[in-house]
């Protein structure tokens, strides 16, 4: 490559802001109220708006969970009971951890991902903008559900890892504790949609010439993050659904004497360790991006940096048992996981050196974003090294459950968050069109960095303090006091940040398209803030530099070359792009995402009071039951409206789509979703196998005495798979009668499956085999129950399809029938394994 320095970058080019007058498109014509209206924020599906919503909401949860942290530190001013009771302390510690990990760090990163990734890859929006809005609203309402839990007799007090058996209703009986689990489920559903959405977007909608290797590093980090999220959160969802069933219906997985608590640890940490990198990768992407911008040079060893990230993403799924060194798992497996854990530190070493070397080779400009990114690197190095101690089995015997662990993971997680705080400053001018105050930014950093180390470093020195409790050796008091002072300094630093950002919104200098002189990614090639549909024409990197093409494909503006005609071109382009927008009429607003999330919120809130399958007696039970019912109705109606709404989005005609060229957008989305469902069912089946191994494989008899009802159900599902295939053929042949007939037959077969299953269950209940009859019955009911829920969901979609098919739909476009079939066949395939595992073997 012999490009000059500016073009040899992340597919970018130097930016010439004279071209970059905002494209004036009347947003109200696209169904979007102005930004000053509350209505806009309820309706919007635009990725930049949704990004802002994520950023603001995550900062709200940050402040909330931060106040909880200050309460913890106040309590630890001296050992023993202080301002908080023992139970309140446990709740504070648990809620602080859960809220920071789930509702703050990742959502903050995804605020940026929403805002920046489509801009960086050259897309107008995400692949499924309405689904994206829905993900956000599920996130917000899941957080609200968590907050409600504080008022239901107290929130969860079992620690953020929710270890079994502490997580079951016997030990954490508050309704609030159940609500937290349900909130996590809602959150995970939103996350899964988000993963599907980002994966489809990044794999299908990259601008021409934007190959995966050229992907800007922040977008690359997000791509790998969502890949990890897709599989990791499916395992968490399995764990949470099983826990919910234990708490609400009275199944007894995690109470099982043999293997119950270890099962939770396996499921949780199979998710939990990738989660560390899910949280950290976006921060790594920000560091790389900010280092490039403020050293004025390309990342040293960029290719190897990317390769290392890919390696870590894969390896992250092979280290989870290092969280379980003090459980009863056997020594060989501990040794194996010690080795894989040391192994995962190697690619990180490479990344750290790449970042350091970039500093050495470049000319550093000490702006606020750079300081935060640099601080993050320093903190991460400390956090990483102290983590290697914990990866060694023998040392972990000593360190586990102490403040060494607390200090280590705060250096890593909050170290990562440090880069994300830098990202706030880095992209603030882009998002708001205003510059922040550089001096106050540096004051924030100074207070933050000193406060951080004052807070967390003493924890290494006072490492003998036991984790999660407020008792400690009196001799460690000075270190804890130092930490408390650090905590308040850290907290105060954010007052400076909020003041700075709030004031800058109105009085900050207005920001040019690219305020950073050297920036290489495409978000800096458009105005600050960018127009609704992002680009003045179709972005293309075909020549190795960013240029914007008109609809006909002729170059309209090149990001790099400054010509006399440039300004005039830009004007012509504005008209052109406004014209294009009118021709395509992409939708940008939908009322249904927020209503769906509200319905789900109410339904789960109502369900939270369920115990052993029944609501409490009296008025309280009626209120909860009513709320659940009302929420379900709202949810169902809004989902139907969501399906009926005409919402148009266009896919670019020309795009980089490796490795999914030839797979249409929605089809790819369905397949990616099914891949996560494979892990969900896999984790359920795996849990069954694990519990059965723990209980003794051969001593375990199948719960149903007779395989024949199961065999009949196998016949029914196989036949329904065949009929849905015939439906697709009928749609392709444009034969409406056959289409409706075969879809209806599928529906009837599905109903017959459920009736047969229902009869079987009723008979078992009569024999006294209920959900709570022991772990054997639990695994049977819950695993086949999850499958039945999939059948029910399929039938609901099918009912919707039939209603539309009667009206003549799908004859011109049979794809919805095809995609429904993909799901239905998947449910069939799962049964092909459940049948022998639960009825025969």
């Amino acid at each position: 490559m012999t490009h000059d320095r500016h073009t040899e970058t992340d597919g970018g080019a130097t930016i010439d802001d004279e071209f970059l007058e905002p494209v004036v498109v009347d947003e109200s014509e696209m169904g979007l109220p102005p930004m000053t209206s509350v209505k806009r924020w309820l309706l919007t599906t635009n990725h930049k708006d949704v990004g802002i919503l994520y950023l603001v909401t995550s900062l709200f949860f940050f402040v909330f969970a931060g106040i909880l942290a200050l309460l913890i530190r106040l309590q630890l001013w001296s050992p023993g009971e202080g301002i908080l009771s023992a139970v309140a302390y446990n709740q504070t510690v648990s809620a602080h951890g859960l809220l920071m990990v789930f509702w703050f760090i990742s959502p903050l990163a995804f605020g940026f991902a929403n805002y920046v990734v489509p801009l960086q890859i050259g897309a107008k929006d995400l692949a499924f903008p309405r689904l994206n809005a829905l993900s956000y609203w599920l996130y917000l309402f899941s957080g609200l559900l968590f907050l409600v839990s504080f008022f239901q007799g107290g929130t969860l007090d079992g620690g953020w890892t929710m270890y079994a058996p502490l997580n079951i209703a016997t030990y954490t009986p508050n309704i609030g504790a159940t609500t937290v689990v349900l909130a996590l489920i809602l959150f995970t559903i939103g996350i899964t949609m988000s993963s599907v959405n980002f994966l489809t977007t990044i794999h299908r909608m990259r601008a021409e010439g934007m190959t995966l290797m050229r992907l800007p590093l922040f977008s690359m980090s997000i791509l790998l993050t969502v890949w990890m999220m897709l599989f990791a959160f499916a395992a968490l969802l399995a764990a949470l659904l099983i826990l919910t069933s234990d708490r609400l219906l009275g199944t007894s997985y995690f109470a099982a004497d043999a293997g119950g608590s270890i099962l939770w640890a396996h499921l949780f940490w199979f998710f939990g360790h990738p989660e560390v990198y899910i949280v950290f990768f976006p921060a790594l992407g920000v560091m790389a991006e900010v280092f490039q911008t403020f050293t004025g040079r390309r990342l040293v060893g960029r290719k190897w940096f990317v390769a290392s990230m890919v390696l870590v993403a894969v390896q992250s799924f092979m280290v989870w048992m290092h969280h379980m060194f003090l459980t009863s798992i056997n020594l060989p497996v501990k040794t194996l996981f010690m080795a894989t854990t040391i192994g995962i530190s190697l690619p990180f070493d490479l990344m750290v050196f790449a970042l350091i070397y970039t500093l050495v080779k470049g000319r550093v400009r000490f702006t606020t974003p750079f300081l935060f990114a640099f601080g993050a690197l320093v903190l991460f190095i400390l956090g990483g090294i102290t983590g290697v101690f914990l990866g060694a089995v023998v040392l972990d015997y000593e360190f586990r459950g102490t403040y060494w662990v607390v200090a280590h993971f705060h250096y890593v997680m909050v170290g990562g968050a440090t880069a994300l705080f830098g990202a706030i400053y880095y992209w603030f001018p882009k998002i708001t069109g205003r510059m922040y105050d550089e001096f106050l930014g540096k004051v924030h950093f100074a207070m933050y960095f000193v406060g951080f180390n004052l807070l967390y470093f003493p924890m290494f020195l006072a490492w003998e303090t036991p984790r999660r409790v407020y008792e400690y050796d009196i001799g460690l008091t000075p270190w804890h006091r130092l930490a408390t002072i650090g905590a308040f300094l850290l907290g105060a630093s954010f007052l400076v940040m909020f003041y700075n950002l709030y004031r800058s919104l109105s009085v900050g200098e207005s920001a040019p398209a690219n305020p950073w002189e050297y920036a290489t990614t495409a978000e800096w090639a458009v105005s600050s803030p960018p127009p609704l549909e992002n680009f003045p024409g179709r972005p293309s990197y075909a020549t190795g530099m960013l240029s914007f093409l008109t609809a006909s494909g002729t170059p309209a503006v090149s990001g790099g070359g400054r010509t006399d005609g440039g300004v005039a071109d830009a004007h012509r382009l504005d008209t052109q792009s406004a014209h294009d927008a009118h021709a395509h009429h992409d939708s940008h607003a939908s009322p249904w995402p927020v209503v769906i999330a509200l319905g789900a919120f109410l339904a789960l809130l109502g369900l939270s009071a369920l115990k052993q399958g029944a609501f409490p007696e009296g008025v309280v039970g009626m209120v909860y039951g009513g709320t659940a019912l009302f929420g379900s109705v709202v949810l169902a109606l809004s989902l139907v409206q969501f399906g009926r709404e005409s919402f148009h989005t266009s896919e670019p005609d020309v795009a980089e789509r490796w490795p999914f060229a030839g797979v249409e957008r929605t089809k790819l989305g369905v397949w990616i979703f099914l891949a996560s469902d494979v892990v969900l069912f896999g984790a359920f089946i795996g849990s069954y196998i694990f519990i059965r191994v723990a209980a003794g494989w051969m001593g375990w008899e199948p719960v149903p005495h007779d395989p024949v009802p199961g065999l009949v159900n196998t016949y029914l599902l196989l036949t329904s798979s065949f009929s849905v295939v015939l439906a697709l053929v009928a749609a392709q042949k444009r034969n409406r009668t056959w289409l409706v007939a075969t879809l209806s037959l599928t529906f009837l077969l599905g109903v017959a499956f459920l009736v047969n299953k229902g009869l079987e269950w009723v008979e078992l209940f009569h024999e006294g085999v209920t959900f709570s009859s022991g772990v054997q019955a639990s695994t049977f009911y819950l695993t086949t129950g999850l499958h039945a829920v999939h059948v029910i969901l399929g039938l609901l979609i099918l009912g919707f399809l039939i209603a539309r098919a009667v009206g003549g739909a799908y004859l011109d476009d049979e794809r919805p029938v095809e995609y429904f079939g993909l799901y239905w066949h998947f449910v069939d395939i799962v049964w092909l394994f459940l049948f022998p595992l639960f009825y025969i073997l």
Partner: protein
């Protein structure tokens, strides 16, 4: 149309194999041999459904890899977890 015929043949094969699974159970084989045969039959059925009904055979290979990755994650979790307590 040949594709309809192909789908019908596959349907019959699936039906027969499901029946065979139950028959294997009563064939008096040793437990682990029967276990292997029955799960192998399930796997073959799953591959037929995925390959033809979900037409994965005719899609870009990357989709199949995607699902294999999910499957590997689930199987890896199951085997490693089960081994850890053995």
């Amino acid at each position: 149309m040949t594709s309809t015929k192909l789908y019908a043949v596959i349907y019959v094969v699936l039906f027969v194999m499901a029946t065979a699974q139950v028959l294997v159970e009563f064939a008096g084989l040793s437990y682990w041999l029967a276990f292997g045969v029955i799960l192998a039959l399930s796997a073959v059925k799953a591959l037929l459904v995925a390959g033809y009904y979900q037409h994965l055979l005719f899609e870009p290979r990357s989709i199949s890899y995607l699902l294999v990755v999910g499957l590997l994650a689930a199987v890896g979790l199951t085997l490693a977890a089960a081994y850890s307590i053995s």
